[in-house]
Symmetry: C2
Subunit: 475 residues, 2 copies
Amino acid sequence: MQKLYGVILSGGVGSRFWPLSRVTSPKQLLKIAGDESLLKTTIKRLSPLIPGKRVSIVTNSTQAEIIRLHLAAGKSGGKGRGPEFPEFIVEPSGRNTAPAIGLAALKLIKKDPDSIMAVLPSDHLIGGGTSFIKTLRAASLVAKEGSLVTLGVVPRYPETAYGYIKTGGLFKTMNSLKVRKVERFVEKPDIKRARKYLKQGGYYWNSGIFVWKAKAILDEIKLHLPSLYGALLDIERGRDMTEAYKKIKPISIDHGILEKTENIVVIEADFQWSDMGSLSSLKEIFAPDGSGNIIKGRVVDIGSKRSFIIGSDRVVATIGLKDMIIVDTPDATLVCPRKRAQDVKDIVGILKEKGFSEHEVHVTVERPWGAYTVLGKGDRYKIKKIRVLPGCRLSLQAHAKRSEHWIVVSGRARIQRGEEVVVVSQNESTYIPRGVKHRLENPSKTQPLEIIEVQNGEYVGEDDIVRFSDDYERG
Amino acid sequence: MQKLYGVILSGGVGSRFWPLSRVTSPKQLLKIAGDESLLKTTIKRLSPLIPGKRVSIVTNSTQAEIIRLHLAAGKSGGKGRGPEFPEFIVEPSGRNTAPAIGLAALKLIKKDPDSIMAVLPSDHLIGGGTSFIKTLRAASLVAKEGSLVTLGVVPRYPETAYGYIKTGGLFKTMNSLKVRKVERFVEKPDIKRARKYLKQGGYYWNSGIFVWKAKAILDEIKLHLPSLYGALLDIERGRDMTEAYKKIKPISIDHGILEKTENIVVIEADFQWSDMGSLSSLKEIFAPDGSGNIIKGRVVDIGSKRSFIIGSDRVVATIGLKDMIIVDTPDATLVCPRKRAQDVKDIVGILKEKGFSEHEVHVTVERPWGAYTVLGKGDRYKIKKIRVLPGCRLSLQAHAKRSEHWIVVSGRARIQRGEEVVVVSQNESTYIPRGVKHRLENPSKTQPLEIIEVQNGEYVGEDDIVRFSDDYERG
């Protein structure tokens, strides 16, 4: 049997999820739907059918490093690459889904000319246990015969934020799942039309999950997007990818291929699914209470209705809200009506314009060895809480422009400072002078280490670091 | 001429101003209408007519210490008491305005049997330059002749949050200001009635500012509130005040006296005035923009209307709000419709019930020597940024249950630690072991001192402190 490969598209930031998402914490890396990120969940979800080593992540160079370190996090000595990790296919810059999928198909076909690829976004929410795998397996059997297969989700309510697929006649039945012809793709409808589709039947939600032979999609690209095909061939022949990508026009696989080809069928996907397109999708994760509210965190509410109030450690107090979304994070709070959830991306645009940093990075930054939280900063200083996971250590490093005071508040630290190694216990401190090579390590197998770091210097930016050695192979 | 005394009522917390106000930062101490607190502004406003030494502040024992330290703040060596500071009249517990005013009258009459007292809330907003003093002077001349005089503010719009005074015929003219008889006091009207009052004329806003002879109001209390009068006499005879207060029923001067007496007149007060009764009153301080919004702080807004968005250092992002109030502080955010501003006090009630601390104390706590900000806390530790004003010093103190690491991030510290005195400069640190007497001082005449303090210990509460010596006479 032809092998099934996973291709996970993971190039976006998901700015509609701000302030939960940031440039350095894109939506697919958020743990909003469980203990693990959407991306890790996506990889795990495939595992009964597609092992990690047959999964590729298509992303851009900025995201690739973030994702690699995310996959490495917490795994002692894990580097986020190697046999048990997905492979990265790195685009020089994002060009929407058609080039990303084409590039992945190209790589796969070289590895395995008969390969079948399942293309999945990295940030979807999928429920329903085994149903997903059953559908994917059936889809791969149909794809094996040459069709492009798209997963059409059975609509459960009249959603206006999704595109729809109007189905034609039955194409075939595979493992007792209906596979239909596609009559046409339908843009996001208004509520009236969405209600009609639901009532009338014969419409699916367009999931953005596809299964096809790598060769089949490349043939379609050759036919419908010849200039993209040319660029892909150039890349295959060893041409500089950045140069090749400059010529590629951004286009989605939907507009570029699926709406044009005759060779497309849709398989009925009957499981919980959400594209997590905006903060409105929070209703897919959390069950609303009796008043229609979703309330998380240290929230004090009086009489709100149908509102999503997602707090954190801070107090959020609300009175008499109706159909509102509030998302609170340590450094930024969003307040908007639910029906304006799509416009959150515009807020991110304004933050960028204004030169703010609250769209780029969270106050707490995950690192493969743990995390740090910026507690405060001022002229010539910055204060961090640093948490090192058991058995983990930071890189051996030095800073040209700052010195660091370290006070251990929890656990025990093994600290290399210049030529000496010292052990610093709770309520003890040490000092790392400017320019001195140092390394912080948590030697415990079970207890986390927490230190407070006070940086002093003419410049206290994150980029003032030289790494001499790193467990996670960072530059 | 009889002397005019100021009696400032300052017993409230102003919980409708949460999260700006806290138990330890009551509304009257907030700098919401300028560079100085409402209380200090109230004292200054009186100064052309009533010097500080003839001003009394009536408050309760908790607030008295907070207010004293507030008045002392920044004044090198100031103790918040002494000839240049107002005198405190401390009630054992709040009993509304009638007992507070009666107690103040009692104290004044002993000092000066002919004294005239101007009674003013501590937290009102008053604009209009000399007009206030002109009105107060005229009112005192009318009061001198024996009447109880209330200031009636000329309404500028149909406000529903104020009580009104319906005036009778002209009583007299004083310094070209009209003094009218009071026909009756009117409860807060609905918008329809408020519009009628404005159109019809003959109505004033009931300002809660009164001028009368101390003897005159005591006579009225004797007549209309005999049991309060009895309690006041007991106090005068040296009876324990706490005991006496237990018997006193809370009642406002309006309900207890003014609505009953025939001896009341109203003087026309034609200046900007607001009782700052709720966050809705922010519109009195800040001019709304073209969309009717008041936006302060790091706010990013898309298309909101008639909304008050008061941010701080954090980002607050808003989309399409209508008639909303958002107030953001470092540890708490309030979101409510403008028309629900009165209900903010209920949020404070819930915070209290839940055992939260966000209604009690701000993250940044003002001290007479400067301020501290809690940057973080955890099990067995707390991190503070401490800012010491030039020339100021903290008390000579010790802690039984915690040690402290200090790192100077700005300025220079003179530190007494046990028997030694050391000078610690920027990027240097020191350690104060548990139990060791210490004192932090900013010896500079011009530069502030900033240190980061990391506390470690089994208990890191503020009350683990023994003071051996203090510039501000704290216990």
